[in-house]
């Protein structure tokens, strides 16, 4: 066990930002979420059981994200026209085509149900192992594996809307939303 070293946190900003972007679907919300996550981590001493800080940051990111969802649900929804708000950073990357890909992919991920979203963010966006991701999300590895599989499948289906949907046991195509209700392993 060791205490988290605050100086080591800055190297994770990029990955946390991408994870937050995929969770929120918006770059500005992602910035807020990352900032809030780091503020939480730095609010008191943190003892890590393993070597990897990233898993711990994912856990705090998840908690912060879920808290923000609850807060947002109590707040009146207001909309800002996109042309009225200047982008958070006009130069997000030196590779605009990749920023476009990221925008499209992350926007798709952000539409998934929370559990699927968190699974795909932890493993594919953040790069955690299945074991680390399961710990960070407080679920069993089998549960995580199931959610991850379905999350990827759902993203693939959204990119290929003309392909057949997942098949139910009776051979009928399921709508994506319906397929979420398939029984999962429970933690």
């Amino acid at each position: 066990m060791r205490t988290l070293d605050p100086q080591s946190l800055s190297k994770h900003v990029d990955r946390l930002y991408r994870a937050a972007w995929a969770l929120c679907g918006s770059r500005e919300d992602a910035e807020d979420l990352v900032q809030e996550t780091f503020a939480r981590v730095l609010s008191r001493p943190r003892v890590l059981q393993g070597d990897d800080e990233l898993y711990y940051l994912m856990r705090v990111l998840r908690n912060t994200f879920l808290t923000s969802l609850r807060t947002a649900s109590r707040r009146p929804v207001t909309a800002a026209a996109i042309e009225d708000v200047v982008a958070a950073d006009p130069r997000p990357t030196n590779r605009p085509e990749q920023a476009y890909e990221a925008q499209e992919l992350y926007a798709t991920i952000a539409q998934l149900p929370d559990n699927f979203r968190l699974a795909i963010v932890a493993v594919d966006v953040l790069g955690l192992s299945y074991r680390e991701a399961a710990r960070a999300l407080r679920v069993r590895e089998a549960t995580l594996t199931t959610r991850l599989f379905r999350a990827r499948k759902e993203v693939a289906e959204r990119f290929n809307p003309n392909e057949p949907k997942s098949q139910s046991s009776d051979g009928k195509a399921r709508a994506p939303a319906e397929s979420y209700r398939v029984k999962e392993h429970h933690e």
Binding site: Y17, E28, Q35, R44, A79, A80, A81, D89, P92
Partner: protein, 228 residues
Amino acid sequence: MSEQPPHSEREIAELIRAIDVPAPEALHRRIDALIAEHEQRGWRHSFLTRRAAPLRFGLAAALALGVIAAALVVGLSGGSSALTLHTAVALTLRPPTTAAPALNPHNRTELATNVEGVAFPYWDDRFGWRSTGARSDRADGHAVETVFYARGHDQWIGYAIVAGKAPMLSGGVVEQRGGTTYRFVSEDGARVVTWLRDGHLCVVSGHGVTDATLMALASWHSRGMLSS
């Protein structure tokens, strides 16, 4: 997106893993400032600050950053002013003394109150921030008008415009947008952004709001209708 859409779960995973878009520089700076503040104050202060704060999105960041001022002081100098930023910010944190100004009937992006032609923005329709009150003060020879805004029950903003020639600004965490320099500091537990509009010092302090939100509000101008 590439021309051929990904078909399999494996292709999706590879595509996601290949993305390495970096975080914006401004976010890096803010995180570095958080860490610097932590290094300066240690765990104990941050812990007490955190425990005293309500658990709501954004406020923890504002409060954790609230003690950076020593390292990130925005300096005011030059001009004929002896006005300090501390004084201007303090006015934005005091309670309103008059009713909220009405919407400008001739320009729906502004409120019907201004300081030497520099109007306060109307944010309700666009952002959900409604004006809740106002106050007028005089500080160090400058008239200072402040309008207060709120969103929901846990977010407040005080927006002050200072009359007269603005002093020179320096320091703070600087962000450039649309040719304007915005400086972020912390003062009395609030996050503060300050910048110039038509040569007038503007100070916006926020409770329960993050820098990104402050930036979006401060830099908003509806297609040039609101001078910035």
